[in-house]
Symmetry: C2
Subunit: 250 residues, 2 copies
């Protein structure tokens, strides 16, 4: 594989070859390599639950609103913050851990994400397709119950895996100059910001999206349909309550 | 480069060739590729501030306790959650964003981490050495002031970069079987957990660490010296207050 070409052309894959399974041995080997990525203090406060059995995947799917990426997946990996292992280690060594706060949670999300992303890169370089499911933090309690997660283990990211059965167009990104700042943050003017978003807004798919949702512009689709404040706040309350029940107070 | 060999042998690099700079053009190109990694709803709620000027790096260093990895770095990348750009786009489009809550924060940390990790992988595959600094969430306010970050832009991760001037030993990891669970989470017994940590505890460096700190065992060093509850809670209060001042209520 042309390594550098891979990075500039990577795509999320949501449809997988129905007849081609992904071996557990391959997944485990890729996870072992992924765990070599950096993590906070080498505490490795994460775990991953691998589901390859179609019935297990079917049981997980409702928590992810039965998106096609999961219902057709050959493997589903649920990446979790895991304080349980570290806490248990502390307790059998006559000491008390102190990770169940905002710093511990933030390190946990960072380290779990780095681990998941390293797995995704390795999997894609091995010819697999992957998709991140953003629904994991919506229904953490339901996922935890399905996977038998103990206290202090919190689902953060789900990645679906299979051999690609689609070749989607490269998805647009904002101009990199809007993301990268040299020396100091540069805050664009209204006109400069319009320019930053103009390619995204002028895509046919974006125009279709605006029309279907009866909105005036793409920003309204994002802020009022896809990620409306009321839903974000409701899911925030649910996730915070779930974390609190795990003993993690933000 | 042997791609698969890279993943199984990657190392954090904290010392860099003093006379070998890293060009801004190379960094920008690598960041452009890194931004092709997945992100929530393709909202790209992140920014990165690139510091290559030695005086700028010197000004950032105290917030990271002047660790050698930053004082000797040829480039310092501060990866931030950026709601400012998205919020600004919403406002010029007559709509109200709703990301300033726990869900938005969690997505922001995930997406910023994925972006940073993709950059790290690309940089290392280009022969550079990198080091994550976990101090970013300790001193976010100080970093924000140094980099001129506006409201709604929150530092999460710092990565230092340079050409390697050291070849450290491969750092140990817990046995992968303790991290990966098949179908359901498996909670180890006390004896099984002792076995999981035995290699880590028996390293000469760990024994030295225990002795230097006058502790009985390695878990006590982690829970009482490196990451004590009182410090984690204090830094959590500071970070939460900082987030609140950015309008992000957890």
């Amino acid at each position: 594989m042309d390594t550098l070409n891979y990075f500039s052309t990577r795509r999320t894959i949501r449809r997988y070859e129905p007849s081609r399974t992904v071996s557990i041995e391959l997944i485990d080997k890729m996870l072992e390599d992924a765990a070599r990525a950096a993590n906070t203090g080498n505490m490795q406060t994460y775990s991953v639950i691998v589901s390859t059995d179609p019935e297990e995947i079917a049981r997980l799917s409702p928590a992810h609103f039965n998106q096609p990426a999961i219902t057709g997946a050959k493997a589903v990996l649920t990446f979790c913050i895991d304080f349980n292992r570290f806490n248990h280690w502390c307790r059998i060594n006559s000491t008390e851990p102190g990770l169940n706060n905002l710093q511990g949670f933030t390190w946990g999300v960072i380290d779990t994400s780095i681990f998941a992303q390293q797995f995704v890169t390795i999997a894609e370089m091995n010819g697999l397709g992957t998709c991140y499911l953003g629904t994991t933090t919506y229904n953490a309690g339901q996922i935890a119950e399905t996977l038998g997660l103990p206290s202090d283990v919190v689902p953060v990211i789900t990645v679906t895996v299979g051999y690609p059965a689609e070749s989607p167009e490269l998805q647009e990104r904002l101009p990199i100059g809007a993301i990268v700042h040299h020396s100091r943050y540069v805050n664009p003017s209204d006109d400069e910001l319009r320019e930053v978003y103009s390619e995204k807004e002028n895509l046919e798919s974006s125009k279709q999206f605006v029309k279907e949702n009866n909105k005036e512009n793409l920003a309204q689709v994002f802020a009022e349909v896809r990620y409306p404040r009321a839903a974000n706040e409701q899911f925030s309350r649910v996730y915070k309550e779930y974390l609190k029940n795990q003993g993690i107070a933000l």
